[in-house]
Amino acid sequence: MNDKMIYNAFDRMQPSYADLTDRIMRQIKTNKKHAPVRYRVLKTSVCILLAACFLLLSVSGYAAVKLISVKLPEPGEGKGIRYTVYNNAGVVKLSDEVMSDLKQYNGRSDKNKYKAAAGHEFGRHFKDYFEVDEYLGISILKNSLFGEAPDNVLTKDIILRSTGDENMLNGLIISGSHTVSGASAGCHISIIIKLTDDKNPLSEIDMPESGNTTLYVNENGDLVSDINIQSGYKKTSKVSSYKSMQNGLEAEIVVSTESLKLKPEENIEVPYILNSINAYFIHDNIIYSLMFRLPVFENYKSENFTSTAPEPDPLTTDDYIILTQYVIDAFIVN
């Protein structure tokens, strides 16, 4: 074997030479990165396909994705917020590394349920996987943990993300029907820990292992207390209640510790499903962490929680949006 043989073999591999000069120069002049033609075609096709699927789902009534928006105030008018509702399911596929870690925590649960303790540890453990975007507030794109969970913990998820500058409010609401396994609260805590790591003066907060953030508001929805960090548990406070003017639903607002009724070491299965909204917001460097439980669950009796509202029909996505909007109006815009 000699070089000539190799040279000849390479020489046979002659492609036809398309004139790429115009294409390249045009791209350079516009200073925009155009994808090669066939990728652009592919991208367009995918977009059309997705749009068609979305339309189909919308028509058939199965669409879980809805967009709502709140009118932003004019500059200088005060605080405002813009929301987009995302369907969380399958947003991002977890990397093998994360899945590997996740399996360790799955191992602590029975069948498909997460336990409270596991949920919180899990949240703490995965805090590094949540992105904190300085401008947008919180990016939850990496948070596909629930979508990947065996039980698809959030089955009717609505992820609501706010955008705004540093003076605006940032927050995340996970709403829909999901277990009270603690995984969603763990998620919140993990984000909060992440934030406290990143932002001053919140970095001074020492988040204990089973720590919770507590929100205190009065009947008018005004904040009356700062963050309260607890190292204990069973701190359950029915803070206030609100009535939605739109549909008469009553939402009872309890502190996030409601979801942490179990000591980590108790590690007890929490088998029921309830409709709830977990939410947290950041306002003036204070994190508000909330758990809204809606009185629609069954077989749920607790010494710490009493629902006085009549049992309404199961909530729909629209109900969640209305309720969420209501919460936003009550807590944020004012």
């Binding site: 074997m1 043989m5 190799i6 000849n8 073999a9 591999m13 000069t21 390249i24 350079i28």
Partner: protein, 175 residues
């Protein structure tokens, strides 16, 4: 002939000349690595665009071709990686065992893209090991060793494909 100095100062018309003149060169190179016309076009397009954007990093006019080869190699490898996910495996080529170039082409196609690039740059481009190192982002010792190992691998594969028995004498190519 193009003027590299003008390119380095950001002369677009000169760059157009360069693109026009060197497209065949890099099409051949990328095609040799990728074995696909469309992929090679994408790689070449990306190569020139990256070269334009990174022209400020080129400090030595004489290293211009190495600079371009290095980008072309990187763009081609990116495409190789991407298509692992998006493309079905291609069918086995039909080779004529009586044709030495056919066998050699098959042997080349069996190499990894990086090895193929090393062989190409050394044999077709006649680059020094120092330039090969710059193109592939490796040390000179690494590319030297790689080149030698690849040649051995190719020779072995040629034998396996029956080159010695069936084609060497007919083609008159010394072994």
């Amino acid at each position: 002939m193009f003027d590299t100095a003008k390119f380095m100062t950001g002369d677009e018309s000169e760059f157009a000349v360069i693109v026009s003149e060197l497209t065949p060169v890099f099409m051949h190179y990328s095609y040799s690595i990728l074995g696909c016309q469309a992929d090679a076009e994408d790689a070449v397009q990306n190569t020139f665009i990256k070269a334009w954007r990174k022209k400020h990093t080129l400090r030595d006019e004489t290293a211009f071709m190495t600079f371009l080869y290095r980008i072309a190699f990187s763009c081609s490898i990116d495409i190789v990686r991407a298509r692992k996910w998006f493309r079905a495996p291609e069918p086995e080529p039909q080779i004529n065992v009586n044709d030495v170039s056919d066998i050699m082409e098959q042997v080349l196609l069996e190499l990894s893209p990086a090895d193929r690039s090393v062989i190409y740059c050394r044999v077709v481009g006649e680059y020094s090991y120092a330039s090969l190192a710059a193109i592939h982002g490796r040390t000179e010792a690494w590319v030297r060793k790689r080149y030698q190992l690849t040649r051995k691998k190719m020779a072995k594969r040629l034998c396996e494909l029956g080159y010695k028995q069936k084609t060497a004498i007919e083609s008159g190519v010394p072994q």
